[in-house]
């Protein structure tokens, strides 16, 4: 492909489905998504010509500032909130930590109890574990019901007089199960407690209207919605409740210091704008595609267990356990066939322990070990399903007939972390 010359600086959009169909299938959109060609096109001028510092007062700075503020408006439109409630950060993890630490910090003198679920992303539970170990907060962890759903009543019962926050993710990264956040928010607000939701996985996949959900805080990451990695954001209904985690210059209304990553913020805005346009239609397509994949896989491997099948799930997510198989091996086998899927969240893909999410749902560890997550998105189409199902079913049968030996296990561990 010809790269741009200075006069034609916009990249030529590529077509992933076409590109990948020939040899590779990418079904790991919950780990990360490709950058949409429209997004790339929007960001490229800011990577080349418009390179001013958005805090500079001269024209170059103003041009960059315009890009940043436009992106904030675009994200605000997708979420149904005023743009001044949105702050850009470097990633979803930073956003989540900022919210949790703000709450802990604000209530440090009077005691701070936080209610959360046991199926959160590591950037939530490790942050809370750290705050817990330093004595700043007390945490109650709520297990999900059988189908992966957190019961709002259990949240309500866990709330104490010193509870300052309820934090429950909107959609789980491994199972795609969507949580009853509005109900959880109602229960918490009735007791005067603020609510945060990690909406990193849900963003762009299902409509999120933050006003309707009645949230106090929410967090986002661009690379799950066809934006680039390394840019995130958070919503704070009341921005004055935020205690900055990274201090320095007055960027982001003094809530997040550091020279604004203008091209990547612009890209996040463009990704949000596109999600706003296509999310409803796309959800329908992906839901169908996922359901087809699901029923075809069960046809091939009838003992397979679909995680969260009875719950509302993100349209493209299928987490399926093949009993008698190790998911981590299956993922590697599939990778050799040019199929990219995951055995859990990417951050913990290198661990051969069964997923904490599946175990919390009450799935037996030996079944949970056979979990594979297919997460569908813009890089997929119907004509990939046939080959994918055949390959997967064959590999599952193969692994059952020839279970991996001890030596291979050692190999895997050294290959990882």
């Amino acid at each position: 492909m010809k790269r741009d010359s200075p006069t034609t600086r916009h990249a030529i959009p590529i077509n992933w489905t076409e590109n990948l169909m020939s040899k590779r299938v990418y079904m790991d959109h919950n780990a990360t998504t490709p950058v949409d060609p429209e997004v790339l096109e929007a960001m490229l001028p800011y990577l080349t010509d418009c390179y001013g510092n958005a805090s500079s007062v001269h024209e170059w700075g103003i041009e960059a500032r315009y890009g940043v503020e436009k992106a904030r408006v675009q994200l605000g439109q997708l979420l149904g909130v005023p743009e001044e409630t949105l702050t850009f950060t470097s990633c979803g993890s930073e956003s989540n930590n900022t919210i949790l630490r703000s709450v802990a910090h604000q209530h440090s003198s009077e005691g701070c109890h936080i209610v959360t679920s046991s199926i959160e992303h590591p950037c939530i539970y490790r942050c809370l574990e750290d705050l817990e170990s330093s004595g700043s907060v007390a945490v109650t962890w709520i297990d999900p019901e059988e189908h992966g759903v957190i019961d709002p009543d259990k949240i309500g019962k866990a709330i104490r007089p010193d509870t300052r926050l309820v934090s429950v993710m909107l959609a789980n990264n491994e199972t795609g199960v969507v949580q009853p956040i509005r109900e959880i928010a109602d229960v918490a607000h009735a007791k005067g407690v603020g609510v945060h939701s990690d909406t990193v996985q849900a963003l762009g996949k299902i409509p999120i209207h933050l006003g309707d959900l009645d949230l106090d805080f929410a967090t986002f990451s661009a690379h799950k919605v066809y934006g680039p990695k390394g840019i995130g954001a958070f919503y704070a209904k009341d921005p004055t409740s935020i205690v900055p985690m990274i201090r320095g210059g007055g960027q982001e209304n003094r809530l997040r210091a550091g020279t604004e990553s203008v091209p990547f913020i612009v890209a996040f805005g463009a990704a949000a704008e596109k999600a706003f346009r296509v999310q409803n239609e796309e959800a329908g397509v992906l839901d169908k595609l996922r359901n087809e994949l699901q029923s075809r896989l069960i046809e091939g491997i009838p003992e397979a267990v679909v995680c969260g099948q009875a719950a509302e799930r993100l349209p493209g997510t299928l987490c399926i356990c093949f009993p008698g198989v190790l998911g981590t091996y299956l993922v590697l086998d599939l990778a050799e066939e040019g199929i990219a899927v995951s055995s859990g969240s990417a951050c913990s893909a290198n661990q051969s322990k069964p997923s904490h999410v599946l175990v919390a749902m009450g799935i037996a560890p030996e079944v949970a070990q056979g979990a594979v997550r297919f997460s569908l998105g813009r890089a997929n189409s119907t004509d990939q399903i046939d080959e994918l199902v055949t390959t997967t079913v064959n590999l599952v049968k193969q692994q059952r007939d020839h279970p991996p030996g001890k030596d291979e296990e050692l190999d895997l561990l050294s290959l990882c972390d």
Binding site: A11, A31, S56, S90, K229, G258
Partner: protein, 386 residues
């Protein structure tokens, strides 16, 4: 009208080679580096190549490099990361002329019961090392000192600072954001415990930086999540930005001698020309050692902001000092610390050159500036100063 961009201490353009290096990672190679499949698998290698290149630029080993979102985060991580490892040490030493990434944080730490000593500088912007010696206490956790000042370009004697810190057994953090790529940094020669650097000052994109942590030094992460950057800095790695940073570091290392030689000649020409053509002008921190690309001047009887606006209208981009603070009309804390009077400091203009600055641009700048300064001076005379 072509623009003369002289604000390279605020931020630089992305080098064409860097952009070329980034694009494949925004297009086909989008996998998550933590994923075991080959959409991600091969990307691990690209990350480690980038890490090697950044390490090579400063004479470090790749395992001592931790990627962050920028210089500000690196400074925050270094200072808070050290302080929270040993909470019995409640004192840090820094200087009065640091970037806000260090200063604002220090002021916040003071509210939390940390003692901070802000070392003064003299009229040339230099540090008195005996002040540093005297400031160190038994409970000092860290000395945090910038290598090069972003406003004046003045270089602090980091070798001597390092020796003092080693003698006294105190950890040393250096804000190397402005120095890296412009002044030679070789950590095999200069022992530093932590060094903050940023991509967008060396022709990589904004939003990526690194913290060098000398092997054996332990710091606590600023925040928690996955095991990325060996747990010191979680969050899905911004692969395109990191690869771009690596490429920029490689380019900087290749051309640092040549670039700094050329920029020094250009800067000196600019400085001489301005002093010859524009009366009542002083250079801030004009004695060596200074970054080769930086010139900070104060034009007497000039409101800096007014001049910068007029320059902007005439296609000349420069700044009064730090971009992060430039919305405030207050005079620069750096110049005030150097004893420059408030009125004079208001007339400060900083020119920052880059690898891409041409001799013609220097000449054009020299030809345009005198009339612009004259104009602002005559306006100020008529309106009077408030």
């Amino acid at each position: 009208m072509n623009t003369l961009y002289f604000d390279n201490n605020a931020t630089t353009c992305v080098a064409p080679e860097v952009k070329e290096a980034i694009l494949p990672f925004l297009e086909e190679r989008y996998g998550n580096p933590s994923s075991p499949h080959h959409f991600g698998g091969s990307i691990e290698g690209d990350l480690s190549t980038a890490r090697q290149k950044v390490a090579a630029l400063i004479g470090a080993s790749p395992k001592e490099i931790f990627f962050t979102s920028g210089g500000t985060e690196s400074d925050n991580l270094a200072i808070r990361g050290v302080l929270s490892m040993d909470t019995t040490r409640k004192h840090i030493v820094t200087t009065a002329v640091e970037h806000s990434a260090v200063l604002v944080q220090c002021r916040e730490l003071e509210k939390m019961g940390i003692d901070v000593t802000y070392l003064p500088v003299d009229s040339e912007g230099t540090l008195n090392l005996s002040d540093l010696e005297k400031s160190i206490r038994p409970d000092t956790a860290l000395v945090s000192i910038m290598w090069a000042n972003n406003e004046t370009g003045v270089l602090f004697p980091i070798d001597e600072v390092s020796r003092i810190c080693q003698d006294r057994g105190i950890l040393l953090h250096v804000d190397g954001v402005q120095a890296v790529g412009k002044a030679p940094i070789d950590l095999t020669q200069t022992r530093i415990d932590l060094l903050a650097i940023s991509g967008h000052k060396i022709h990589a994109p904004k939003g990526v930086g690194a913290l060098y942590v000398r092997s054996g030094i332990k710091i606590k992460p600023l925040f928690w999540g996955g095991n990325q950057e060996r747990g010191r800095r979680p969050g899905t790695e911004p692969v395109p930005m990191i690869v771009g940073f690596g490429k920029a570091a490689e380019l900087a290392l290749e051309s640092i001698r040549e670039d700094s030689g050329r920029m020094r000649l250009q800067r000196d020409t600019l400085e001489r020309g301005i002093l010859e053509r524009i009366p009542d002008t002083i250079v801030n921190g004009g004695k060596d050692p200074r970054l080769p690309n930086t010139l900070s001047v104060c034009f007497d009887r000039v409101e800096g902001e007014a001049l910068l606006m007029l320059m902007d209208q005439n296609g000349i981009v420069a700044s009064s000092g730090s971009a992060c603070l430039s919305h405030k009309l207050e005079p620069s804390h750096v110049l005030l610390a150097m004893g420059v009077g408030e009125e004079t400091a208001q007339g400060a203009v900083r020119f920052g050159l880059s690898r891409y600055t041409s001799d013609e641009e220097i000449q054009q700048l020299l030809e345009t500036m005198p009339a612009l300064v004259d104009k602002v001076r005559s306006l100020t005379r008529r309106v009077g100063r408030s």
